[in-house]
């Protein structure tokens, strides 16, 4: 039975980092169905770029729920996506040196974007701009 099974997708890795990575893809993917698609429906379909502006973001991030939602999505999507880019790197880049370089770039991107994304989601304080916002209508 097992012997006739054709290759569909990727074999499950047998252990180590690759097995954690394999599970992480699946667990984060299932969570992202709710987080990312919920986000798209709320921010791109129900509301659109016509309604969304600075004030919209400020109002939304008044709620700790949306900050937590957005931060969790940031964390999962960034690691899922960059880890996916790593799979593509491993498929297309063979020479060891280039591979190390590409992996270093991906993990650097992960750290840098996680930091700037977290600063945006967690430290944003609209009251700093209160007077500006009123002046701007």
């Amino acid at each position: 039975m097992a012997a006739v099974r054709p290759h569909i997708g990727r074999e499950r890795p047998s252990g180590g980092f690759e097995l954690y990575s394999w599970y992480f893809f699946r667990v984060s993917g299932l969570l992202l169905i709710f987080l990312a698609i919920g986000h798209v429906v709320i921010m791109h379909v129900i509301n659109t770029v016509d309604e969304i502006d600075w004030q919209f973001v400020a109002d939304r991030w008044n709620s700790p729920f949306w900050r937590a939602y957005d931060w969790l999505m940031l964390f999962l999507a960034l690691l899922h996506g960059l880890n996916g880019a790593r799979l593509a790197v491993d498929d297309y880049i063979r020479p060891q040196g280039w591979r190390v370089l590409a992996h270093s770039i991906l993990w650097t991107l992960a750290i840098v974007f996680l930091i700037i994304g977290s600063i945006a989601v967690l430290t944003f304080d609209p009251s700093r701009f209160e007077t500006l916002a009123q002046a701007g209508g």
Binding site: R26, L78, A88
Partner: protein, 141 residues
Amino acid sequence: MTTETMRDVHRATTRGITAYRGYRPPPGMISWALHRITGLGVLLFLLLHIVDIFLVNYGPDTFNELLFLYRHPVFRIGEIILVAGLYYHAANGVRIILIDFWPAAYRYERQLFYGVIAVFLAGFLPTAFLMIRAMLQAGGA
């Protein structure tokens, strides 16, 4: 070599590349290629999106001034394509996970892929309708 492939090779060598017109990709190749392209495409947008959201920290003037970019028709069409990519990736991701944890599902590989297309269309068609309508109402086109 089967007679069929021998005939193909013969045709290819005597009549040039057009003899390959009947070629079909092996099952799973298209779904896999789309999964990779949409995953990397959504990732690219995510990186851009983190940078633009970072700008809320610079106050309403800076942020609102840059919004003209996202309201530009070219960006709005890109946005619709992005949503299509995400929907496909999500639907196909569920299919991959299903086959991983329920091995017998490989026998329904083709049907499952049609299911992915059906789920994708059921989600994307209403989404695209609403997004295009909003875009036309804004007079962007």
